[in-house]
């Protein structure tokens, strides 16, 4: 098996989520490969656009829905623009799934606490969807999301929909509110002072800017959440996703194969270091 070879996948649906954010539904063309393909929420694919390049993108569809894979892509540069520029029927190359996954088995019976920030964060969408479809396996679902200004809140409609789910709480906050803003104000970690988290029976999964995650971890730890029940999804440059190119190193870890989801106690001594 040559680990560098992508398999052709067809764009079977393209959905607009927000400004410059689209979800591509991909279907691996080869039937045998499509049937054998299994992933877990938190993992990602390397997606190749003919002649342009290849980038890591999380899988946000449900692992039990077979036959297609959803990827929500925000345009930030050449490759993401090329991906979002594709039409239904176009073909991409796909390799994966790669990396570690969210602790959805370990978290059974617990409250699931999601902390995200910045301009949307695809990796946690997979958890929210997963829990929403298996409500009886988990306690409460608490979603904390912080952005700088209201216009950075990309998935307003989604949050509104999640808020209506049973046993689900959504907390939104901005650093700099405008007049219409009707949610909380202040950095996301302020929320932890206002909302009770049951430290004994919560599993925390977070993803977002490292600065935000750093203060979130500090506040959650102060509330008594054990280090081994906090999971973070990290991002680094990736050129291979299979441990060869060296680009994704994070201290002794390779984000592509040891991550992207890492348990806090396993990266404690490195986490938050500048220019690591």
């Amino acid at each position: 098996m040559n680990p560098w070879i992508p398999y052709p996948a067809e764009v079977i649906e393209k959905r607009r989520e927000a400004l410059r954010v689209h979800t591509l539904r991909l279907r691996i063309r080869d039937e045998a490969i499509r049937r054998a393909y299994r992933f877990r929420p938190g993992q990602f694919n390397m997606i190749y656009v003919f002649g342009t390049g290849e980038v890591p993108i999380s899988i946000v569809s449900d692992p039990d829905e077979s036959g297609f894979l959803d990827h929500t892509i925000r345009v930030v540069g050449k490759m993401t623009a090329a991906l979002v520029g594709l039409k239904e029927g176009d073909t991409v190359g796909l390799r994966g799934p790669y990396g570690s996954w969210w602790p959805l088995e370990e978290a059974r019976g617990m409250d699931v606490v999601i902390v995200t920030g910045g301009l949307g964060c695809a990796p946690v969408v997979s958890v929210i969807n997963y829990v929403a479809h298996r409500r009886d396996r988990y306690g409460r679902l608490k979603i904390f999301h912080g952005v700088k200004t209201p216009k950075d809140l990309l998935y307003r409609a989604r949050f509104r929909a999640w808020q209506k789910h049973p046993d689900t709480e959504v907390y939104l906050t901005v650093d700099h509110p405008d007049r219409e803003w009707k949610y909380k104000v202040g950095v996301v970690t302020n929320l932890f002072r206002q909302v009770r988290i049951d430290a004994r029976k919560s599993a925390v999964m977070m993803c977002g800017p490292e600065g935000m995650m750093k203060s979130a971890v500090r506040d959650l730890r102060a509330q008594g959440v054990p280090a081994d029940r906090i999971y973070l999804s990290l991002e680094r440059n990736m050129k291979c996703a299979i441990g060869f190119c060296g680009h994704c190193q994070y201290g002794p870890r390779f984000i592509c194969k040891d991550g992207p989801v890492l348990r806090f106690d396993q990266i404690q001594e490195w986490f938050g270091k500048d220019e690591l």
């Binding site: 098996m1 040559n2 680990p3 992508p6 002649g51 073909t91 220019e275 690591l276």
Partner: protein
């Protein structure tokens, strides 16, 4: 142990060629000793040696006709096993999509001549990266397959060598088919005329099989002892030393240390150290299309953690300061590598010291941190 005389070495080369091996080894090229194709022992740098110091390399004539009388040069064997520029696959538009055409990889049947002990260790380290991981690489294992190695125990240490500190030399202990110790005895020690011979140790059945094709004799006790003395002398001549005591924790503890700022004032981030290093494995990929847009290719190229692009993620480079890039490189070589692959990423070959244009010395940087740790 078997011994070969100077002329039988060509017969050994012939025995390998008859078996279809492509010989590569040290040869003098543009003022440096580099690894390239060899036709016979005449292509070796006969009678040459090198002088190495921080930021300095030059070749000069020796007083004798030694074949392996120098240390390692600017190229390493990784150039053959992990090629600097390499196509990974091609793609062609077809029907509703495109088809990927993998590269056809044929084992090249390399025979490496004159591999030093530190380099055997470096190859073993890259094996861990490219063969022992979750999925073996598409090319390295094929290049590596069938590789025949004739190692050489070093007859002199280079000015920047520190294999003794890294426990990787100068005597080859594993990873070769045959290993030679070159012995040169001037007439006053030898009986009669000058003597020039190679004491051979056999590492594998393949090695023994090839050696059977070449006339050789059994070494006398004196000859074996002479070979022992060669490596002992080399071990005592190391140009550099590095104290590796608890080195992983030393560097983990000193992620913040003023010495990183100091070395950053000298480092040019030229990436030379990573290019010459026999264990550095980082690469990047490039995608290209032809003018018709019907045909695309993906290439892999050596890359370096000293570039800004290396750690770029949208919005900026993670390691933008020179300090953080030097720290990444040195900490990876000597510390995080141990957690990643169960071995140091440095074999003490000294290349990064010799080929750094400003002579930054990894052994000196470790010493400075160790001595001033708070």
């Amino acid at each position: 142990m078997p011994i070969l005389d100077r002329n039988s070495l060509d017969l050994l080369f012939d025995a390998l060629k008859r078996r279809g091996f492509n010989l590569v080894g040290p040869t003098l090229h543009d003022g440096a000793i580099v690894y390239d194709a060899l036709a016979s022992t005449a292509d070796l740098p006969v009678g040459w040696t090198d002088e190495q110091e921080g930021g300095r390399y030059r070749v000069k004539k020796r007083a004798d006709e030694a074949l392996f009388g120098y240390a390692v040069g600017p190229r390493s064997w990784k150039k053959f096993l992990f090629q600097p520029v390499q196509r990974l696959w091609q793609a062609r538009r077809e029907g509703e999509g495109f088809r990927i055409i993998p590269e056809e990889e044929k084992p090249p049947k390399w025979a490496f001549i004159g591999v030093r002990s530190c380099e055997l260790h470096a190859i073993a380290i890259q094996d861990k990266v490219f063969i022992s991981g979750p999925a073996p690489d598409s090319s390295y294992p094929t290049q590596r397959k069938d590789l025949f190695i004739i190692a050489v125990n070093c007859g002199q240490a280079g000015g920047t060598c520190f294999c003794v500190s890294m426990n990787t030399g100068p005597k080859a202990t594993a990873g070769y088919d045959l290993v030679l110790t070159e012995v040169l005895e001037p007439a006053r020690l030898a009986i009669g005329a000058d003597r020039h011979y190679f004491v051979v140790e056999v590492g594998t059945d393949r090695g023994a099989e090839v050696l059977r094709d070449v006339p050789h004799t059994e070494a006398t006790e004196q000859e074996n002892a002479a070979a022992e003395r060669v490596v002992e002398k080399t071990a005592s001549q190391m140009g550099r030393t590095l104290d590796t005591t608890d080195i992983k924790n030393l560097l983990y503890r000193n992620f913040e240390h003023p010495r990183w700022d100091e070395v950053a004032t000298r480092c040019l981030t030229c990436a030379n150290c990573t290019m010459v290093c026999p264990t550095c494995f980082c690469s990047t990929v490039e995608d290209v299309t032809d003018l018709t847009g019907e045909h695309a290719e993906r290439w892999r190229k050596w890359d370096s953690c000293f570039t800004m692009d290396f750690s770029y993620i949208h919005g900026g480079t993670v390691r933008s300061s020179v300090k953080s890039r030097y720290r990444q490189w040195m900490t990876h070589k000597l510390a995080t590598w141990i957690d990643q692959f169960g071995t140091s990423g440095c074999v003490g070959c000294g290349r990064c010291i010799t080929w750094c244009p400003v002579g930054i010395d990894i052994t000196e940087e470790v010493r400075a941190i160790r001595e001033t740790e708070k």
